[in-house]
């Protein structure tokens, strides 16, 4: 079988759907392919995101896909000390806890309303190039081979990021830039109703444990461990089971869902475009290296790529040079933050449990109501000068 389209989007997550929507809204003939049989399933996500992003990506908030609204984040040290951070100061992962399976469908429905065609159970199996230019993909649709010709391919294939690699853009990751994760939807537990909780320290080496509330007694309880810090192979689930067993708030909980996966926590790529192709979201490694949050960046980069694809169609120019506009759009908005957080992540790895305890106890004593991360670092600098020597450049 053969197909033709102007813009082919590979991957039906939020990044792919926003790209498809914005390209279709501008008049492009758009095809979105998704390898699974359902958009938004299975979920591979802790589902936390900040409210502020939705204005920027022009998606009106809808109660249908919001599980819970929270006021901010609670940071818990290894010994159990804690302090609270207001939503506005807590970064891009706090404010809303989504129902991703509904959110993703709503974003894909927006793309469909704009005129995009969606094919489920259709996975890309390779990239077709002519004279070093991407001109389509080979795929398998409901088990049948399918060749898709496209003027422009938007790779939104998530953490796997295989489309880019087939095309010759190296998106492979170092061990120290991969976090491997496991999560339960736990019910029958004591939750902090208005806060997303983050437990730092050796319970999750190089990462953290998250508890994001979904309703009165249910939360996404999961953890991510930096691959370079993982002692025993294949042991992430074991770390989470131990954390839950050792914490009386969670030990009595029962699982409704188990989720596994990995996220990139790398610095930005040197290039996210080539002739005939743009990368968005996790496929472009746009995840925040400290929080592991990727939804907002995926939506934003998807929107940018969709708009640039439509412009390229108008100009009939799908060259790497033309796609520089996409590079500039996301880099102007995100690149500095991604680099800064990646460097901070590299340093955070070196902090011991005792040091985390000291920092959080100090912050709790000083009181950090409505504090920004910047102010927090300033307090640490004043109170614990030895510890922050390495962090000077961020303060």
């Amino acid at each position: 079988m053969k197909r033709k389209c102007d813009v082919l989007v590979v991957g039906g997550g939020p990044g792919g759907s926003l790209a498809a929507r914005h390209a279709a809204e501008a008049g492009a003939d758009v095809l979105l392919i998704e390898k699974r049989q359902e958009i938004g399933s299975p979920v591979r996500c802790a589902e936390g995101v900040s409210r502020a992003w939705f204005e920027e990506i022009k998606v009106p908030m809808d109660k249908k896909w919001i599980a819970k609204e929270v006021d901010g984040a609670k940071l818990v040290s290894p010994s159990g000390s804690s302090f609270y951070v207001d939503e506005k100061m807590a970064g891009n992962e706090v404010g809303l806890v989504l129902e991703r399976h509904l959110f993703d469908k709503a974003m894909a429905a927006n793309a469909a309303r704009a005129g995009a065609e969606i094919m489920l159970k259709t996975s890309a199996t390779g990239v077709v190039k002519e004279d070093e230019k991407v001109v389509g993909v080979t795929a398998s649709s409901y088990g049948e081979p399918l060749a898709i010709d496209a003027k422009c391919v938007i790779a939104a294939d998530g953490f796997e990021s295989q489309v880019a690699r087939w095309a010759g853009l190296d998106t492979s990751l170092k061990q120290s830039d991969i976090t491997t994760c496991f999560q339960y939807r736990l019910t029958g537990i004591d939750i902090e109703h208005m806060y997303c909780e983050f437990f730092i320290g050796s319970a999750a080496p190089g990462g953290y444990v998250w508890v994001f509330p979904k309703d009165e007694d249910t939360a996404n309880v999961g953890l991510g461990i930096l691959l370079s810090q993982l002692k025993k192979p294949g042991e992430v689930k074991g770390y989470l089971d131990k954390f839950i067993k050792d914490n009386e708030r969670f030990a009595k909980g029962q699982p409704l869902e188990a989720v596994s996966g990995a996220v990139s926590v790398s610095h930005p790529l040197d290039e996210t475009v080539m002739d005939g192709m743009m990368l968005v979201g996790d496929a472009a490694r746009l995840i925040d290296p400290i929080t592991g949050g990727g939804i907002a960046h995926a939506c934003l980069s998807g929107m940018y790529a969709g708009k640039v694809a439509a412009k390229a169609l108008e100009a009939n120019d799908f060259s790497k040079e033309f796609f520089q506009e996409y590079e500039s759009l996301w880099r102007d908005r995100l690149e500095n933050k991604l680099w800064r957080d990646w460097m901070a992540k590299e340093k955070l790895i070196t902090i011991t449990d005792e040091q985390f305890d000291l920092v959080i106890e100090t912050l709790a004593e000083v009181g950090v109501d409505k504090m920004s991360v910047y102010n927090i670092l300033k307090v640490i600098k004043e109170e614990l000068p030895d510890l922050v020597k390495d962090f000077e450049e961020f303060i």
Binding site: W166, I178, S260
Partner: protein, 57 residues
């Protein structure tokens, strides 16, 4: 590579972590191509321990 199908969660952590792009999900189960250089990254990253390196033949 030995995949314990009963343990696999189909999450593709192995796919995105593979430095050689040598793993893909055949529908849901990971399959390994000849590009695999037995680096063991996928065994380590698998959140549920479903992968095991087979002995070299």
């Amino acid at each position: 590579m030995i995949v314990t199908v009963e343990m696999c969660m189909h999450c593709a952590a192995c796919v995105g972590s593979c430095p050689k792009n040598a793993v893909f999900l055949n529908d849901t189960i990971p399959l390994f191509t000849d590009a695999c250089n037995r680096c063991g990254r996928c065994v380590k990253v698998c959140p549920v321990g479903a992968l095991e390196m087979e002995a070299e033949t």
